[in-house]
Amino acid sequence: MKTMILALALSFAALPSFAQQIEVREAFARATLPNAPVAGGYLTIANHGDRDDRLTGARADFAGEAQIHEMTHSGDVMRMRPLPDGIAIPAGQQVQLSTGGNHLMFMKLNRGLKQGETVVVTLTFQTAGEVEVPFAVGPVNARSFDDDGSGRVVPEGHGGHSH
């Protein structure tokens, strides 16, 4: 099943000519483990309009704070950093926020996210303004919107003393 949210957002009633067509699809979060203070949010944003836009922030009632984070890889090292200026959503293009790339970080969680529920997140765009998006909560190891997490097991490891 694919959730399609066509958010035809009019930025301001006073400026109807700058209407942006922002579409958000396949928005999901991972279920959180007990006591988890943070959770990631993942989605695809398409800009159908003819003006560049920018995702500048997010908020949700289950989180005290939300940030936009980038993920960079170099060698075997992965780093995650806040993007205070958000993410550009160029006109006519779509941008993916994924488990292996840039993503939303929900912080100071005031409750856990349970698999199967849907939570509402308000995204803020520079031009399109605020867009309310339902996020489907998937399994703790979900990699994509329709990933049920099955079929992937953690291989048996082995320990050992190393001084």
């Binding site: 007990p34 060698g75 995650m80 953690v154 001084h163």
Partner: protein, 445 residues
């Protein structure tokens, strides 16, 4: 010099020459990688500070279970170990076996719960780069055979020091002993540099070789086995024979059928991947006074235990604690003072060898020793290069009729037994020598 002592001098020189020439490239490798690894913490903090360091805060950090949950949320997998922040400005490290089969270290800001990043878990080395340096130092990078070569090289370094000191004895000659002769040029200059550097660094070379050997495959294993057998090594439970957690239901089933329905309540029953007792276990080991910077391994199976271990710079704070995953009971708790004499000596040796025991002074002194070893290699090679006749190896010769004095033979045999890989390589070199001598005799006959 009498004929006999002159022949002995030439024989020692010959062994010093061959051994030195053969192990020279390995000594340079060991000295350079060792010098780097002395500063691994400083290098890791400089190169990966953005992962390892966080802005210090006055507030209480998040609970270990929250930090582990945050890490597993961003990097799904199996929790293997949790290392609390070693200082207020350090990240917590959560080791997770991922779905890709690799164990990664996930760095978490203990105040916000944000994952700062992940890196392949390189164990005690702290980074892939330092892991590589360590594997080159032991030559384990080239498999077990590489490690055996390094073990033989360590033994030969002791032989080189012994033969070198013998050759260094001035015997009334006009040679440099503790400094280079005035006006020396060319080969005499290199010879004096080699001799004078050598006499100062000899003790350090022997110390580093001997304290490095406990890591080795043959000597090290024998050392630990023999000291264990003599009751002077590592007690059971420290590294080996780790105690197991007993599942309470098994006992209950035997003795009291009516209580069989009582389920065991393992502290480690994963509540979505994080042992529910993680916070309790952390509280417990910290109440026992474990040194900061410890690592807590979580049980891997039904009989596994929580193991908190720490090998800090202050070696006396070294500690291993095992905790039953069901009862939370402390099954084993030992620090350095609980080890046998030889085990304790080995741990002190290892700590100094790694530049930890005496802080920065320890690191600097050993860095100088490493530099001196490289200088020994360069000056030794230069001496040989300058005196080598064109088109031949220029090894020192011994008179054909010279026989090995019994005393020297006894020392060689003892050395060969004490350093089995030195013994093996001595036999190999002797076989080559005898073979060459035999063919020479055949040709001249």
């Amino acid at each position: 010099m009498t004929a006999a002592s002159s022949a002995l001098y030439r024989a020692v020189w010959r062994w010093h020459f061959y051994a030195g020439l053969i192990i020279l490239p390995f000594v340079i490798l060991i000295a350079v990688t060792g010098a780097i690894y002395l500063f691994k913490d400083e290098i890791n903090d400089a190169a990966y500070g953005d992962l390892r360091l966080v802005p210090p805060q006055q507030t209480q950090p998040l609970a270990p279970s929250a930090i582990a949950a945050a890490a597993l949320g961003m990097h799904p997998g199996l929790l293997r170990a949790y290392a609390p922040p070693a200082a207020p400005d350090r990240a917590a490290q959560v080791k997770i076996l991922g779905e890709d089969g690799l164990t990664d270290t996930v760095y978490v800001d203990p105040h916000t719960g944000l994952v700062i990043g992940t890196a392949w878990d390189s164990g005690v080395s702290g980074s892939t780069a330092m892991w590589l340096v360590r594997k080159l130092h032991s030559l384990e990078y080239a498999g077990w055979i590489g490690n055996r070569i390094v073990e033989a090289v360590a033994g030969w370094m002791v032989v080189l020091v012994a033969t070198g000191v013998y050759l260094w004895l001035p015997r009334g000659r006009n040679v440099g002993t503790v400094r280079i002769r005035k006006g020396a040029k060319g080969r005499p200059w290199w010879r004096d540099l080699h001799a004078a550097t050598g006499i100062f660094v000899a003790g350090f070379i022997v110390f580093l070789a001997m304290t490095g050997l406990p890591w080795s495959g043959v000597w090290g294993k024998q050392f630990y086995d023999l000291s264990y057998a003599a009751g002077l090594g590592m007690p059971d439970g420290y590294w080996n024979d780790i105690p197991v957690s007993t599942v309470p239901m098994e006992e209950a089933l035997d003795r009291a059928p009516w209580i069989a329905e009582r389920q065991p309540m393992p502290l480690s029953t994963a509540a979505g991947g994080v042992p529910v007792g993680l916070d309790e276990v952390v509280r417990k080991v910290e109440s026992l006074g474990i040194h900061a910077g410890y690592d807590l391994a979580v049980p891997g199976d039904a009989t596994g235990v929580f193991t908190a271990s720490v090998y800090p710079d202050d070696i006396r704070q070294e500690r291993v604690i095992h905790i039953d995953q069901y009862s939370g009971e402390v099954l084993f708790d030992m620090d350095l003072s609980g080890l046998g004499t030889l085990g304790r000596l080995a741990e002190w040796g290892v700590s100094i060898h790694m530049g930890q025991a005496f802080g920065l002074a320890n690191q600097i002194v050993l860095l100088i020793a490493c530099a001196a070893m490289v200088l020994m290699c360069i000056s030794g090679a230069a001496m040989w290069w300058k005196r080598r006749p064109a088109g031949s190896l220029g090894a020192p010769t011994v008179p054909a009729d010279w026989t090995i004095p019994r005393g020297i033979l006894a020392i060689a045999v003892l050395l060969g037994i004490f350093f089995p890989l030195v013994g093996l390589s001595m036999i190999a070199i002797a076989a080559i020598e005898l073979g060459l001598a035999a063919t020479r005799r055949l040709r001249t006959a």
